[in-house]
Subunit: 136 residues, 2 copies
DNA sequence: CCTACTGTTCTATGTGAGATAGAACAGTAA
DNA sequence: TTACTGTTCTATCTCACATAGAACAGTAGG
């Protein structure tokens, strides 16, 4: 029996994202950053729900989405484990989604009225830090 | 009486953004791109609503948000006109919002599992094209 | 003055996503 | 058998969004 890490994680009601969305984003970034190693066991649905003081169904939905995206591997009756990185999306689909994400970001930059150069710089910094953690 | 341009604009029900949100984004980008010149009159609330086959209240909400953001200048009884560019946000507030937008974008890049370099490149391209239009 | 336009404001209604609550099911290990 | 695991289902509540209809104040032109 592998002990599951307490999983430092927080959800806030003020966030525009749904509770399940916050959990999904946090775990995806922790896996990408290497804070959650491949094969590691995640807290149980009910355990994490109690820890976050939210409904178990909300955690279950987040876990289901992560499993569907290939981030977590379910073992029947045992729990969910961090899966090895693999691509479920085709190159075309990934390109399409990236384009949509870029478009959304540009809309926000326009709305803020900030310099395109500053926005590019900030994105470069944030994504650069991401790749460093990925190689770790 | 200044004739208002037909304003090539489209809203789609499938878009995750609300109808008002789509209108707001489109008009902000048209103003930024110079497709809508400063001082130009916008279509009336009821006119644009009829053109888009949506409720006038939805258009009114979009216009109100644009006016609140300083993008449009209301003239009582006349209509809304493209305002001269000015900053209503403090540097600190703009920086805070940019950080939030970057964080959202990074979350999407992580979710897509695409290369950070590719994402940076795409953003740089998109924002570069934006600054070109701004100078026009 | 009167009419026709402009944006604004208000209440009411219907729809859908998100979160909650509670129950039940199947698989696994001690 | 017991206690855990994730999964699935129905039901309810809330809130944002879009719609619908009405009313108001300001402006221009006949």
């Amino acid at each position: 029996m592998i002990r599951s890490v307490p999983l430092a994680l927080a959800v806030v009601p003020g966030d525009p994202r749904s509770l399940a969305g916050q959990i999904v984003d946090s775990i995806r970034r922790k896996i990408t950053a290497g804070e959650l190693a491949v094969g590691e066991k995640l807290p149980s649905v009910r355990g994490l729900a109690q820890q976050l003081a939210i409904n178990p169904n909300t955690v279950a939905k987040a876990y289901a989405e992560l499993a569907a995206g290939g981030w977590l591997q379910p073992r029947a009756g045992l729990g969910l484990y961090v899966a090895a990185q693999r691509d479920l999306l085709s190159a075309a689909e990934r390109d399409r989604r990236l384009g949509a994400a870029v478009d959304r970001f540009v809309n926000e930059v326009v709305a803020i009225r900030c310099s395109p150069d500053e926005a590019t710089e900030r994105v470069s910094q944030a994504l650069g830090g991401l790749s460093l953690r990925q190689s770790a």
